[in-house]
Subunit: 359 residues, 4 copies
C-alpha cells in the first residue's frame, strides 16, 4: 500500500467527488491520502459530511478520513479536482503553482491553449503540452483537464472518423442524463414527464471541445481540428448516460459498411492498453437498430466504454450514428483517473520506486 | 342537434379513437352517430368495451352507444379513421368505394399520389386532389390523410421557412412521447430511465411526408418540395408531446431576427381562421432559451398549436429551431377533425341545410 | 368587477401562490388586488419575477401587477397565504392584528386551539371559533387554516365513516406527489426510479390534523375526535395527486356494501352546495379494482373532488379504502379559496354591497 | 466443471429465466446443462431467441446453447422453473413425476400443503416436507417453491419479530416495482406519473404466504402461523425493488430499541452461512429516517439481502417498519437458487462425488 502514489481529491463530497472516491479506493496504482471539502464538511470525517448518492455506503477506509479545507498543503502527490467552476478557476492554478499535477473535471482551463484537454484514446500525445504550460505560466505543477461529459459521449467516434476520412462538419443533438447536473441539480418538477432543451453553456462546449481534442500537437501548441460542430443539448429524464445523435459530413467519402468496420475493429493506441482502468473493448459497436440505449449501454466496460450504433447514411450529410458514454464515470471522474494513469506511463507523474506498473 | 353533420369513428375504442370521441363529442358542426370496434367490442355499449385512457370517464352520451363492426353500412356522412395500419389499408378504400369521405389518421395512403396529405395551415389547397382521386380510383367517396404525428410536430415551421426562403435541407432529431405508440404500446421496462433511439418506420415518414406537405398542387398532382430531410426519431419517457430539434439550410439566407419575426407574426391562410377548432394563435414563438418543453407547451391552444423556440444560427447549416405539438391531439385525431372542418368550408363535405357555419 | 371582494395573495410567486393566482383570477366573488413576494421579486411586475411552473403563461391581467413586500398595508380585504412556514408563523399573526382575515395554507397555526382548521365539507361549523380567536388574541382580523395536503387527501372519507359508525383507529400509508414539496423541492436524482419513505413532519400532521378536523365545536373550543391515526408518508415519482391507503377500525360495525353506499350517496352540507368552486359531485366513489389512480383521478371536479375506491373488508381491522385528492389544488390553494367562499356565506367575510352571491 | 451438479432452467428466455441464467452461469456448485423455451424459441440458440433485458449481452457460454421444448427428458439433475402460472401448474408436476427436483418461482403449488414454501433464513426445516410430498403424490422427484416477490420483501423481519415476540397481526402496504410484472408487463402509459393500486392476486398472496412461511413443521405438515395479515399492493414507477410498509401487533410487547437491536444483531441459522450465494449480512438495519429506498437499497448483498428501516412505535398497533428486497433477485430467481443450495446441504439434492461444498 505504501508504494502506491498518494493522491488527493478536491471537493470529494460532491457528486463527482464521490465517483472519484469510488474509482480510486481500490486502485492498483493510486492511494487516497487527502480529501477536501467545503467549510461545512472540513474537519469532520468524510462519512459524516458526505451525502452519499451512490448505492450502499462510502467505503469504510475513506469514511473515517478527516476532510480538509481546499488549500495547497495537502499530503498527496497528485490531485483530482471535482471543484465547482468558480472555485476551480481560482484554486487549481494555486495548486499548480504549489507543484501539484492537477487532473481536473472542471471547465475553466479546458480551452486554455496551454492546458491539455485529454482523453487517452483520442489524443494521448497532447500531454506533451505540459512542459510548455509549466514554462508559460511558471508553474512547477500543472493542470490537465478531461472533457465535458457531453463532449466525451460523442468525441471518440468523431475522432475515429476524422482520422480515417477527415471530418468537415457535425450536427449533434444530445439527450443528457440528470446526474450531469450534479446534486441537487435538476428539480424533479422540471424533468418528470418532460424534456428541457437547454443546458447552460453545454452547446458551446460541444462545439469547441471536440476541435481541440481532435487537434494536432505541433511546436508547443494545439492546432484545432478544422471541422465545424453544431450542437443542441437536451436534458432528459434519464438517471445516467449521455446519448448523442450525430450527422457528419466527411472530406473523403466512406460507405456505411466501411464506417461500421472501422468502429468494430478499432483499437486504441497501444499505450492505452496498459492503463489499469482501460476496458476491453473500449469502443463497442452494436448492430441492433434500437441501440445504444442509456439504461442498457451506459455501464458497458464498467461505465468506461463508448457504445456506438445506428451507423447509417445521412440523406443530408454523409453518415449518421449514435454514441453514448456514462456521464459521471467516463465523462467525469473516471476520465481524469484514466488521464492520470496515462501520465504515469508517460512519465509526467513519477511513480514511487517500488510501484509495479501492472494492473 | 339534428342539423349537425353525422359522423362515424372507425376503431373508436383505441387510443386515437378515444381522442376522436373527446374532440367530436361537443363539436359545433359534427355529431357522432356511429362508432366501430373490433370483434371484441362490437355489439356492446362503448362505455363497456372501451379501456378509457383519458382522464375521468367516457362522455355519457357516447358511453351508451353500441359499437358496430367496421363495415361500410354506417349511418354517417363522414368517417374518421383510427384504424391500425393493416386494417386501414384494406377497409378505408372500401369505405371510399361506398361513398364516404374518410378522414384518416392511418399511414397506408399518406404517400399515395392521389391522396391529399393535409394540414390546413400548411397546404389547404391540396384538397383539390380529391376529384382526381375519385376519377383515378373510381370512388364516389374519398380518402384524406393527416400527417404522422412526428412530421406534424415540425412541419409548420419548416413550411413557413420554406415559403419565405426556400428550404434546401433539414437535419431533424425528434424526442417522441410514449402515447405515440398507442396502448399498451411501449413497455415501461423499456422506457423508464431510458431512451429508445428507434421507432419503426418513423425516420422514413419524417423524411418523406414534409416534402409532400410542402409540395405544390399543379395539374392534378402534387410536386414534391425539393428539399431533403434527415431524421432520427427517439422514444423518450414523456407522456404526450413530440419535440423536434431541427437544423436547416436555406436557399435564400435569413437572419435569426428575420426568422423569429416570421414565426412571431405568422398568420395561417384566412380560411383557417374560420375553422371552429382552430386555436388563436396557432403558431406560438417562445423567446425563452429553455422552451419549448413537452409538459409546458404541449397543451397550448388546446393541444392544437405549434410552439417554436430556440431559433438560432447554426454553425454548420443556416438556422436551428425546436418545435413541438401534442402528438395525439394536433398530431392525430384533432388533425383529422381540422381537416374535416376545412373540407366543409371548401365544399368537399356537404353541410345539412340548416347548419350554421360558425363555431 | 369593482363589486368583487378585493383579495391579496401572500408569497404569490411560489408554487402554491401560483395556484392561488390560477384559481382566483376569474373568481366570481373575489378579485386579486395585491400580490406579495420576497425581496427578490418585490417591486417588479409579477410576470417578470415569477418562475411560472404551470402550463402556458401567467394570466395577462396579473402579469402586469407589481409585486409588493409582505407587509400589513395591502390594499385587500382578505388575504390568502402561501408563505413558507417560518415566515407564516411570524407574519400571519401581524396581518390578523392589522385586521385582515388570513386564509392560510401554512402549517404553524393549524393545531392552534383557537384557529379553525377548516374544510367546508368536513367541519363547516368550526368557523364559529373565529370570534373566540379574536377575543383570545386581541386580533381584529383572524386566521383560518386549510389542512395539510396529505391530511386533506384522506380526511373526507374518514369523516364520513366517523360520522356514520365512529372511527376507533386508522392505519394510513400515503404515496405523495413531488409537487407537494414545492419548487425546486425534490431533486430528480432522489426520486427518479425511487421512493423516499420520509417527508419531514408529515406523519405527525397526518396523525393529528384529522382528529381536529373531525372534532366537535363546543363552548368555544374544539374537542378532538377520539380516534387514533398511524401514518407513514412516502414520496413517489408522481407529479400531482396524493394517494392514501387506509385501514380503519370502527366502533359500530359496517359492511363493505354499507360503506360503499355511504360514499356513493354522500352529499356535503347544504351550505357547501352554494360555494361557487364546489364541484358536483365532490366525493366520487369508483368501483374499479384498480382505482383511484393519481393521473386518472387527481383532476376530478377540477382538482377539487375526492375520489375513493377499493373499499374492502380488512382482515385485521374492519374496512380498507383508498382516497386521493389533487395536492396543490384541493390540498392547498383551492382548499383555502373554498374556505373563503364558506366564510363569505357565513358572514365572516363581508361582501361589498352589490356582490351577488351566485357563481 | 464436470463435477458440478447439472441443472436446467424452464422458461429460460423470460424475465425471471434470464435472472436464473445470470445467477447460475458462474455458480460454484451448479452448471447449466439445459434451457427450455416456448415453441417460438425452442430449437434455436438461446442468444438468438432471447430478448435480453439485462445489461450487456447473454453470457457467451449460454448464448450458444440450443433451447429445448419444456418436456421431461432434460439432461439435468435439478430444474429451476420460471414457467408462467398455467404452464407451471401442468408441467411442474410432470417433472416431479419424472424424478426431477423442481425449484419453482411460480405460484400454483406454493400453498399446497405438501409443498415447502421455502426461504432458507425463514424456515429451512420446511424441506422436511419433501418425503411426505413424495409419498402423498407418488412422485420420485418433488417441488419446492420460493415465495412471491412481495411476500419475500417483508417476511424476514416479520419472522424475526414473530419468533421473538409473537406476531398477532400485520397491516401491510407495498410499493412494487414494474419488473415484478415481467416483460412486456406494465404499459408505460399506465405507470408513468402514476400509481396503480392493484396487482392481480397479490394481496391474497401477501395475506397467506407469510403464515405458511412462519408456520411450524410438525408431523409431516405445516401448521400455519396464527397471525393475520392485511395487504394492499401498489404498482409504482420504480424499476426494481419491492418496498413494504408494515404495522404489526405483537403478542408480547417490545420497545423500538429492542426491535432495532433484534434486527441489527440478527443472524440466520448456521446452515445458511454455508450457502455460497448467501450475502453477509443478509438482514441490514439502516438507522436513517429516509431509508430503505428502492434505488439505494435494492442491490444490497448483490440483491439478496433485506434492508429494514424506520422501526418506530405505531400509535395504533405496536411497531412499524419498512422492508425491501430486490424482487427479481431475492424475490424470484435467486430465491430458488438459494433454496437449491440449501437442499444440497440438507441432502435433498445429491451432489456428484467430487463436488466440494465450499463457495
Amino acid at each position: 500500500m505504501g508504494n502506491k502514489i498518494p493522491v488527493g481529491i478536491l471537493a470529494a463530497t460532491g457528486a463527482v467527488g464521490q465517483r472519484f472516491v469510488q474509482h480510486l479506493v481500490d486502485h492498483p496504482w493510486f492511494e487516497i491520502t487527502a480529501l477536501t471539502g467545503s467549510v461545512r464538511t472540513a474537519g469532520r470525517p468524510y462519512g459524516e459530511g458526505v451525502n452519499w448518492l451512490l448505492e450502499g455506503d462510502p467505503p469504510q477506509s475513506i469514511a473515517d478520513m478527516i476532510v480538509q479545507p481546499t488549500e495547497p498543503d495537502l499530503d498527496a502527490q497528485v490531485l483530482f479536482s471535482a471543484l465547482p467552476t468558480a472555485q476551480a478557476r481560482e484554486m487549481e492554478a494555486q495548486f499548480a503553482v504549489a507543484g501539484y499535477p492537477v487532473l481536473t473535471n472542471a471547465s475553466p482551463y479546458r480551452m486554455d491553449p496551454y492546458v491539455p484537454l485529454l482523453i487517452p484514446e483520442v489524443n494521448a500525445d497532447h500531454s506533451d503540452l505540459i512542459p510548455y504550460q509549466q514554462e508559460a505560466y511558471g508553474w512547477s505543477g500543472y493542470i490537465v483537464a478531461n472533457a465535458n461529459c457531453s463532449t466525451t459521449s460523442i468525441v471518440l467516434p468523431m475522432k475515429v472518423l476524422h482520422e480515417a476520412y477527415g471530418l468537415e462538419s457535425a450536427v449533434v443533438v444530445t439527450m443528457q442524463a440528470i446526474s450531469g447536473a450534479g446534486y441537487p441539480g435538476v428539480a424533479s418538477l422540471d424533468i418528470m414527464d418532460n424534456i428541457v432543451p437547454h443546458i447552460g453553456g453545454e452547446d458551446g462546449k460541444l462545439e469547441s471541445e471536440p476541435r481541440k481534442l481532435c487537434g494536432r500537437f505541433t511546436d508547443g501548441r494545439i492546432d484545432m481540428a478544422d471541422f465545424v460542430v453544431s450542437a443542441q443539448a437536451n436534458r432528459v429524464p434519464v438517471i445516467d448516460g449521455h446519448l448523442g445523435s450525430v450527422s457528419v459530413k466527411l472530406r473523403e467519402k466512406a460507405t456505411v459498411e466501411q464506417a461500421i468496420a472501422l468502429f468494430d475493429n478499432w483499437q486504441p493506441p497501444e499505450i492505452c492498453l496498459e492503463l489499469p482502468s482501460m476496458p476491453e473493448p473500449v469502443l463497442i459497436y452494436r448492430p441492433e437498430e434500437n441501440r445504444p440505449q442509456p439504461r442498457l449501454d451506459r455501464d458497458a466496460g464498467n461505465g468506461l466504454a463508448w457504445t456506438v450504433g445506428k451507423v447509417r447514411e445521412c440523406p443530408v450529410n454523409d453518415l449518421r450514428f449514435l454514441s453514448i458514454t456514462h456521464n459521471t464515470l467516463r465523462g467525469a471522474a473516471s476520465g481524469s483517473v484514466l488521464n492520470a494513469e496515462l501520465l504515469v506511463l508517460q512519465g509526467f507523474i513519477q511513480e514511487p520506486v517500488s510501484i509495479e506498473l501492472a494492473a
